[in-house]
Subunit: 157 residues, 2 copies
């Protein structure tokens, strides 16, 4: 299956060290999604949504591991029970806040994504589809505060 980037994500994070590990840690941090002009028409009506899913390629991940030690833990875990970039296919998703749509350029907030990340898809976050009222987060015992403070390092290159 062939996948082609539809644009690029620009953020203040030029390298993995010191990047937030999730959008909640990137609170207040702005970035831009630059969509290729060829796809600009597909952005119509997006401005009505407050949040988006971005699907992207972990382009700095150069290998695949089936078990990893995630940022929020000190134990080895199955990669599919983590959000590690070292997963098969190297696909990432983040929920970010949409601040503004300016032509084929989206201003976003709450960014945990490396600069120049290839963008594969944009989907609206839809409360009636996506909100999970009660969930269990397995080994991820951390609360929001810990996630906000945690920063990445080079372990997943």
């Amino acid at each position: 299956m062939r996948i082609d980037p539809i644009g690029v994500i620009r953020t203040p994070y030029r390298n993995l060290a010191d990047m937030p590990i999730q959008p909640r840690g990137g609170k207040g941090v702005r970035g831009e999604v630059i969509v290729d002009e060829a796809y600009a028409e597909g952005l119509a009506d997006l401005e009505g949504f407050s949040h988006l899913y971005l699907i992207y390629q972990f382009h700095e991940a150069r290998r695949t591991e089936l078990t990893v030690v995630p940022f929020m833990d000190s134990s080895v875990r199955g990669v599919f029970a983590t959000r590690s970039p070292l997963r098969p296919n190297h696909l990432g998703i983040s929920v970010v806040e949409l601040v503004a749509v300016q032509g084929a350029r989206l201003v976003i907030e709450g960014v945990d994504i490396l600069d120049k990340t290839p963008l594969l898809d944009i989907k609206p976050y839809i409360d009636a589809f996506d909100r999970v009222e009660r969930s269990r987060s397995g080994w991820m015992g951390a609360d929001g505060d810990e996630v906000e403070k945690k920063r990445s390092d080079e372990r997943f290159v």
Copy 2:
């Protein structure tokens, strides 16, 4: 960029007609995720999570459109402001409930996915990362009840 399926999603929906349009419409409907044995080790620790994101290929979508009329609406919308399969790269995501892990086979509930859909990734739903407290859903004015009742049709083949 090359993407290879890591398994397949089995569901009761053999064709698009009458399939729920979102997991919330598939309440109580069970399916299975059959992960290739080569990736089974990566499923460790998944059983602690109550919900998963599945990333998959809309394998029945044979074309790309930049504007579509979504199931929940009667107006033409930009494809990135919808969850239509006719998007560039034909990537789908669903949040489903994880019922059981049996070796390389996951039993899931709340399924809105076509039978034999190629699976590209599994990620845990993590409350501290993914929960959006307040959001605006643009043209998608529908409430949960309407989403539950709505069924798909052939428009996105």
